[in-house]
Symmetry: C2
Subunit: 352 residues, 2 copies
Amino acid sequence: MASRAKATILDIAREAGVSKSTVSLVLQGSGLIRPETAVKVRKAIEDVGYVYNRGAANLRKAHSNVIGMVINDLTNPFFAELAVGMERVFQAAGIVPFIANTAENPVRQEEVLKSLMEQGVAGLIVSPARGTTPGAFRRIETAGVPIVFTMRRLPESRIPVIAPDNHRGAFIATEHLIGKGHRRLAFFGGSSDLVVYQQRLGGFLEACETLAIPVADRTIVEGETSRKGGMTCLETALAAAEPPTAALCFNDAVAFGVMLALRKRGLEAGTDFAVVGFDDVAEAEHYMPALTSVAVDTAGLGERAAHVMLKMIQSRTTRAEDHIGAVSLVVRESCGPSRNARGAGAGDAAWA
Amino acid sequence: MASRAKATILDIAREAGVSKSTVSLVLQGSGLIRPETAVKVRKAIEDVGYVYNRGAANLRKAHSNVIGMVINDLTNPFFAELAVGMERVFQAAGIVPFIANTAENPVRQEEVLKSLMEQGVAGLIVSPARGTTPGAFRRIETAGVPIVFTMRRLPESRIPVIAPDNHRGAFIATEHLIGKGHRRLAFFGGSSDLVVYQQRLGGFLEACETLAIPVADRTIVEGETSRKGGMTCLETALAAAEPPTAALCFNDAVAFGVMLALRKRGLEAGTDFAVVGFDDVAEAEHYMPALTSVAVDTAGLGERAAHVMLKMIQSRTTRAEDHIGAVSLVVRESCGPSRNARGAGAGDAAWA
DNA sequence: GCCTATAGATGGAACGTTCCAATAAATCAA
DNA sequence: TTGATTTATTGGAACGTTCCATCTATAGGC
């Protein structure tokens, strides 16, 4: 069985009657070793209950095969889906990514990044916390550790970003709403200190502009990017004199909140008020009514981010192209039946 | 600014005009250093853009301050809540836990554990994947690395477990259902290879037994522990000749699925069919109708697990007491109005 | 002035790996 | 046979830290 003190490469060497160098070679799968020797060594490894000490190895190698994934909100299932995509490609490369949560807190993010750096990560995939200061990643950059941002970017940074085409996503969603006959539109959730917010809101506004929705008929309500935030947004919007009849939501969580709030008022998403989400998380399809949402191919973005990271590490560069992922609107039930079925009076909702 | 090759403790020593030992002492916050010297060294550390090499340190120290958190399903918001609790206490201890996802796959779990061990973790908090083989953790145990299981346990293992009182939770929930006048009861979701399932189902059955629900009136439908799984469960249950009028669900995800499936049939959770969930995730409160669920104090369990882990590391033991957390039923709307309001005919649901 | 404490700083030997240069053994060319 | 080449294996010097034992001042006691 295993000995008390942890076994090292030398213990294996002694056990197998070879030198430590030979053991090291076997561990690395070198072809220079005679097959019988390799077998003998591998048996010894098994016998002594050896566990590889990557820290010691990295001391020599400076090539660490650990990748850190820093996420701002583990609670959002969106990030879980993103993580799944990444893990798929990292797994194939024999890498285990370590996930750390910053809970949208820049101070915590600082700690997390420090710890990851001390651990000697080969690269970092980050969705930065809100309120991250511009210089937060400079240390890491000058240390030459590759970083890629996902979903969010920092206002002025040169760090590559993998994100969906937020502007276009919002644009086509808004277009859809207008095509359904809606004339008083809202944009719900998010806050203006996020670049993503600017982009999505931008797409919304541009669609309003090109399809001639007057400024007076556009309602913009900022709010938390959660169910609760969505509920609040709806309440404030409906309190207005001329409330909107449809809303594009910052993300799906907000959209779910809006639908819940509607039900609470005895209204039904789809027939009484149109709502479209953003991200198309798995849940959207199974909701009742099923949520129309902008699909961003979350797992695909995760895969992409992982690939870019791998490439950066391999070519030991800290630069890479941004990647803006294609988006598409997946139409379900939350915007109601087609225009014909609803008739011209669609805008006059039940509460009016 | 920072130099090209990464700075070491010797660079700092040179910069500050002291010895490497002094720098090391400063890094560890030793009181043996004259304050002015410490200041000088700290300035040098800043100047050269030094990043601590924990791998090298661990080589000497064998005391790693990294804790791994191995989770079987990152997609379940429940685990995010658990993680939040743990992080609270680890953060206070100056530790950053690394989270890794096994996606309910024992093979992946094996890889993840191996990687974590190679990284030299000080301890492991694990929610084991389904189908984990009995010996999966023996290597780690003999290596002397403390492990704590959360939520799930392995059938025969001696590893300490932090989990809610599943049996009692299911018991009181079932009691509640019966108290509401329901006589044909179902247990939805989960599968019998999970110990948790046995416990929750056990509580359900015991309540049925003591409150005299005949075996013929108990429906048990296994299924995925997800929304989709819940939907399927409801469908199969309602297809029976004498369908149940109430269900205890394996967890909240299943419960949400059941409610969705009800709506799809034009039925309403609460008035037409009673459903109670398990775990009481944050979402339960905001659902429509709000979900009655067994609260397990998720974050509290997380904190507890973290504390136990810290204690084990500190006292360098691999043993600890199990902790079975108290549970409580939080009654909301998904089981309908009180018995009186519903009248005696409660059992005769709309579809009968 | 001398001896002893004490505070502060230091050199060197680990820790467990990798990698290079060197060796030994076996094969081949002449 | 000798020398060159190939194939397997090996010792030793790093890598960046910690920690122990040692050293040097300075201060205090007499």
